[in-house]
């Protein structure tokens, strides 16, 4: 194959990846988009195998073996993973992209002739710089995602880990990283390469541990972006168009998602990264109020909802934890059968990753045209008779609009209190992740439904 044809084939595969993302602009086109992405991948793999066709049968067998092992693991995971575990799965996948970037860079350093970037000991400096950037970002993505995974999976506490001189240590490691990159790029020293990798591994852990569980949507998006930049760095080393285009796409995708998530929390990107926020410790310390709350039963809730003409459901992370999405959809169906208009309102940072709630509702067979984003539904609350808040808290807190001293002041919230009745399904009166009391609990038109989200919703369904 001529080099031009090869470049064009990689370009085609890059364009197919763009179309795969373009397809996601609506659920109808998204499925076709996914197939276009798969064909892009097939083209890239076939092209590579054609240009570097191994002559030995054993090499082909090794390649087949690699695909078989990885493909089987991937397929089994993709088929069996519960939708509620999607955030940790995505974090795990990010870590694999980072790991692959490190491994490919290490391979390129050992056998540069196979990648057409020179001979061992005589790799062009430009390639070394690209390689070092790829390996540094890849290594940070790898360990950072592993930490994010363990937090999301509940293997370690979601609480932020903060210690003295943390920022100083990070800054020091950052400087060390730059020095090592310069050393490596000027000497092609293997020791410099591995030191660089180790420092990046450590930095990846240190960047993610101070960030609390509730800030995970930002972390996951950020690591998504990193995995893209790592891929692009390796793409420059290999001179591969498909990899460069993909890296740029994924990098900007993750950056945009991080931006949307930060905006959803009204926090600057840096305040999230610097961490220390989102601890569950603060919640326990929150003032226990003696103010009276109105408590209701499932029967009361069912009665009020059945007689409403419009009900808006606001799901949050608690719904995912309790796996209440199916019970919730049954409740919605019962209400619709009783002639009630039902809609779902989703806050951008509800759950542990962007779009988390939408996937869970889709899994429970909720039609996506009943599910609305914050901007689209916020004006409808005054017309709603009942709002059913299930497992959400801070995203409905009026303090964000009314109390300038509140830590969440300025954060966009779902204005549920404008509805006729607000029903809060919570396990207790405890405050949310931000550790802020929600004054909504004590209002006259609020009814608290204490209990597990799934059990409570099931009881309401029974009473309907």
């Amino acid at each position: 194959m001529s080099p031009n044809l090869i470049a064009l084939l990689y370009l085609a595969s890059g364009v197919l990846f763009i179309l795969a993302l373009r397809g996601l602009s609506s659920p109808e086109t998204s499925r076709t988009g996914n197939y276009l992405g798969m064909s892009g991948m097939a083209i890239a793999i076939a092209t590579t195998l054609a240009i570097a066709a191994p002559s030995q049968i054993t090499t082909w067998l090794i390649i087949l073996l690699g695909f078989a092992i990885g493909g089987t693991i991937g397929t089994v995971i993709a088929r069996s993973i519960p939708m509620t575990a999607m955030p940790q799965l995505v974090a795990a996948f990010h870590s694999l992209v980072g790991l692959a970037a490190v491994l490919v860079a290490a391979a390129a350093l050992n056998a540069p002739q196979a990648f057409s970037i020179g001979e061992p000991g005589a790799i062009a400096m430009a390639s070394l710089i690209e390689m070092s950037l790829g390996v540094a970002i890849g290594a940070i993505t790898f360990t950072g995602s592993v930490v994010a995974f363990t937090k999301l999976q509940g293997l370690v506490s979601g609480r932020p880990v903060v210690f003295p001189l943390q920022h100083a240590l990070n800054a020091l490691l950052g400087v060390a990283l730059v020095v090592l990159i310069v050393w490596f790029a000027s000497s092609e020293s293997h020791s410099a390469f591995w030191l660089l990798t180790i420092v990046s591994f450590v930095l990846g852990v240190l960047i993610i541990i101070p960030i609390g569980g509730a800030d995970m949507p930002v972390v996951i998006s950020m690591l998504n972006s990193y995995s893209g930049w790592a891929a692009a760095g390796i793409g420059f080393t290999l001179g591969n168009e498909a990899l460069i285009i993909t890296g740029a796409l994924v990098g900007s995708s993750g950056a945009i998602l991080s931006y949307i998530m930060c905006k959803g929390m009204n926090r600057s990107f840096f305040s999230v990264i610097l961490g220390g926020f989102g601890g569950e410790t603060a919640a326990a310390a929150g003032a226990v109020d003696d103010r009276p709350v109105k408590q209701g039963s499932a029967e009361d809730a069912a009665f009020i909802m059945k007689n409403a003409s419009r009900v808006i459901i606001v799901p949050g992370y608690g719904m995912a934890v309790a796996q209440a999405q199916h019970a919730l959809r049954e409740m919605g169906d019962e209400l619709k059968a009783a002639g009630v208009d039902v809609a779902y309102a989703i806050h951008p940072v509800a759950g542990r990753m962007p779009g988390h709630m939408n996937v869970l509702l889709a899994e429970a067979n909720v039609s996506y045209d009943e599910v609305f984003e914050l901007e689209d539904i916020n004006n409808d609350f005054p017309q709603a008779d009942v709002v059913y808040v299930i497992g959400a808290n801070d995203v409905t807190n009026p303090a964000a609009l009314e109390d300038p001293s509140s830590p969440i002041f300025g954060m966009p919230v779902l204005e549920v209190w404008k509805a006729g009745t607000v029903m809060f399904n919570k396990r207790s009166l405890a405050s949310g992740y931000a550790g802020i009391d929600n004054s909504l609990f004590y209002r006259d038109n609020t009814m608290m439904l204490f209990g597990d989200a799934k059990k409570m919703t099931e009881q309401i369904v029974k009473s309907l």
Binding site: L24, S25, R31, G37, G40, I73, A111, I244
Partner: protein, 138 residues
């Protein structure tokens, strides 16, 4: 929606990169003066792809942000092309101590890891997208 921040940030990043390239031309332009260095062509492609990505991703509906992340995982794994080049090294076997053998071994592990992501990423995206349904109107 106000999202003017990113084009500006990208613009500055591009300008900074261009200035760096002009300041250290010997690293970027290793080849002759007359022809464009392949790096410049690839860098142009990279910058354009960032802009394409910017506009394409803003048009993704928020309801599909989770599939967006899983499909980006899948496509990032096109890094498998690097793994294939390393595995394809001839005259060395896996787990051999030589430089080529080491490269081949790293390549093999990278191949397995990337294959997990390719299959896992596309299939889990497909599984999610199949769930997004509109209610049948009669």
């Amino acid at each position: 929606m106000t999202h003017r921040f990113y084009p500006r940030a990208i613009g500055w990043a591009v300008m900074a990169a261009l200035l760096l390239t002009l300041a250290f031309p010997e690293t970027a332009f290793a080849a002759a003066d007359i022809e464009t260095d392949p790096f410049v062509t690839r860098f142009s492609m990279f910058v354009m792809a960032i802009f394409v990505g910017y506009y394409v991703v803003w048009s993704v509906t928020p309801a599909l942000h989770t599939p967006l992340m899983s499909v980006t995982n899948a496509i990032s794994s096109v890094i498998v092309v690097g793994a294939l080049l390393a595995v394809g090294i001839e005259g060395a076997s896996l787990f051999e101590g030589s430089a080529n053998g080491t490269a081949k071994t790293f390549g093999f592990i990278a191949l397995v890891v990337a294959a997990v992501n390719i299959f896992g990423g596309f299939l889990v995206t497909q599984r999610m997208l199949a769930m997004y349904k509109r209610k049948e109107r009669d």
